[in-house]
Symmetry: C2
Subunit: 436 residues, 2 copies
């Protein structure tokens, strides 16, 4: 089965765990079968692999997520990198070109496209397989997954099938309705549109070429920033007369706010935390290394990370975005392809960072115009290359680097460094890459 | 006026701001007239100086508070250091010997002893002056301050005066009563015992010599650990027939819990914090450098420090101690005579600390048996002495010190360092002092 997961943009609705560069799908918050915490994207990948060990998985995403994906999923997945954000039609068109030209998928094969972030069980992925098989049969140009509504929601679009059977033809699509109208739709057998589409790769390539003037993947990639922002639903699905919909009535949750996310958590406390016996419905999600103590709270979510601390009534946790938008945020934690870093201290002319490199990984060979750096190795083994000079490093070694000096570090084992950046104009974008 | 402030032990009832080495009286939480935050001890000192610019102030406290007192109050106060904790009678006896033998106070002068932590206004200190003057007159051996009760409290001891006049003779003392009995006492004119005593220094020295076998201050200091733990009320006050009590009906608050402390705060937010419009009665006291966002909470106190995060219903904030006792706490922040330090990261074999030295201050010349250290200077000027070698230092300088090497740093301006400690057995007690 060919799957394209659409891994959407960053968001602040799960601040302080999600932010400008860290999206909710990468937060390790769900307890997996082996007792370790996994992120949404790791959970989806594990579930997919179980349902189809040979799945050909491609993640369509922005450049800013590539490091986190490689770090969390390894090299076994394809990544169709969007040079900039252009909504779902351009993203799906680009991933179609990627599948054909980079991954070598035959245009006759079916592809299933779905969002990366619904919180689902294995039956969802079994249903993706059925969608793929229905697409293989070629009885329609497209197959959708329709979620059985559990209440007359005003926040979903509705699919109107021609009848109430398990697989039906689609009659029409309806915009987000009012509650009364939603009730009427549901009586008629309407389904929520879950944003899951299956089709032959050829179908999508034809649509893409029809609507965008491009030659191949590379060409489309290069002109991506000139494309119009438009959704796949609007540009393709709602204009397509030949669509089937397969009903799905398993678990399907949108964990976009703290309120919904905590409902899906198996444990009330992730990280260091204690609640007294007078707490009810309290969730603590703590990424800090010090404890959170909750006393006598009801229906409250507490989340702490190096970016900040949220304490919110669960109902009101849906409304944090405008407040978070006003925070001047220094990114305090980031996953990189080589590991991760955490900002520990910001002084007017210095920044202190803890850097953790994964075994076998290395940074780019780079320099900075406007800052000196000092590395103090605190654990592990590896080597540094500084202005072409190689040096083995161990705990206790100190490497001082002036502005302009080219440097990298290569980890043999897991390697941890304290990095002190020094200068008047410390800026994360002050980084020049060099050939080694 | 001679004042002895009893600066009591550390406590966890205001965790995460107070802990094993940082007592509540040093938390900078009250807005002073010039708009800066001050601690209880700074507030009391400022108020005292205003009422009596020539006050001779001595603080009776343990060794662990000396650095914080010097850092917050400077060198203008005397400190009677208790070698260990032995309750209030030995502490007051030691401070009496200190006043005579170290501070050179005449035995004929009056001394007023009071706790360091009540939250009061200037009228309280004016009343201390009246107590001192009443003591000067010599009409009784001791003068107490009696607080006018505002409710039949079960948590205070009561002073029973012979009548209801402003200054009366004391008839008897009553232990903490039940509410019904407290009501009866109050009808009879009883007053709360506020722990404020005035007497001639001679009186106290005589009592001390009568009850303890010692020669002078040095001798008492040296045998301090052999003394019995006993309160001054029990050992002296309750046995003394000649006592006057002066009524006081001004503000007098015990800010021992978050609930009472937040009542005394003028602002709902100290540090970085935001509350949405649905918060009511919420206090945020945030010592971290990242924001706290509170949404839709009622009567909750949120406090964050490098030690941890408390989120508590205000009523229940009185009950945090047993929970905090269970936390394995690394001290993450401490005031020292030369400045302060903050632990930023703890790794199995490394600890990273931010050190701030006040202008003109210096560390002891010292070494460590079991750890190497690296200093990276991030701002300011000064010099280091390492194994006898002096070196001027500026931002960007790196000093690497092997275990056993003797070192100190001297700050010309405010000086900030990142210190990385390295070793298998990093221990705050691994410190050997040397003569320079």
């Amino acid at each position: 089965m060919n799957i394209v997961l659409l891994s959407g943009g960053s968001g602040k609705r799960l601040w302080p765990l999600s932010n400008d560069i860290r999206s909710k799908q990468f937060i390790k918050i769900f307890k997996s079968e082996n007792g370790e915490y996994e992120s949404m994207v790791q959970r989806v990948y594990r579930q997919l692999k179980k349902v189809d060990p040979n799945v050909n998985l491609t993640i369509a995403t922005s450049k800013s997520q590539v490091s986190a994906i490689r770090n969390q999923l390894g090299d076994g997945v394809g990544i169709s990198v969007e040079p900039c954000r252009r909504d779902t039609f351009p993203a799906i068109a680009l991933s179609a070109a990627y599948l054909k030209d980079v991954a070598g998928v035959s245009p006759e094969e079916s592809v299933v496209v779905c969002p990366v972030d619904p919180y689902v069980e294995e039956d969802y992925f079994e249903t993706l397989k059925i969608l793929s098989e229905l697409s293989d049969k070629g009885e329609s140009n497209m197959v959708l997954m329709g979620m059985e509504p559990t209440y007359p929601s005003e926040k979903y679009g509705y699919i109107m099938p021609t009848d109430k059977s398990d697989v039906s033809k689609v009659d029409s699509f309806k915009e987000k309705p009012t509650k009364d109208i939603a009730e009427k739709y549901i009586e008629e057998g309407a389904l929520w549109n879950g944003g899951v589409f299956a089709f032959k790769l050829k179908y999508l390539l034809d649509k893409a070429h029809e609507l965008i003037d491009f030659e191949d993947y590379r060409d489309l990639f290069n002109k991506y920033d000139t494309l119009t922002k438009i959704s796949f639903d609007y540009e393709v699905v709602e204009k397509e007369p030949s669509i089937l919909v397969k009903r799905f009535n398993g678990q399907w949750k949108d964990l976009g706010t703290w309120n919904t996310l905590t409902e899906a958590m198996e444990e009330n406390i992730v990280g260091k935390g204690v609640q007294n016996e007078n707490c009810e419905g309290v969730h603590i999600i703590n990424e800090m290394n010090v404890p959170v103590l909750a006393m006598g709270l009801k229906n409250v979510v507490i989340s702490a990370s190096p970016e900040g601390i949220l304490v919110s009534d669960k109902e009101q946790s849906s409304y944090i975005k405008p407040y978070v938008d006003k925070f001047e945020q220094q990114v305090m934690f980031a996953e990189k392809s080589w590991g991760s870093y955490r900002v520990m201290d910001i002084d007017p002319e210095a920044m202190t960072i803890k850097v953790t490199l994964n075994p076998g990984s290395k940074m780019n060979y780079h320099s900075h115009k406007n800052r000196d750096e000092v590395w103090v190795v605190i654990s592990g083994q590896g080597k540094t290359i500084v202005d072409g000079m190689e040096q083995n490093i161990n705990a206790g070694d100190v490497i001082a680097m002036q502005a302009g000096c080219k440097h990298t570090v290569i980890a043999d084992t897991e390697l941890r460094l304290i990095e002190v950046q020094l200068g008047k104009d410390i800026d994360v974008n002050d980084k020049q890459k060099h050939e080694l």
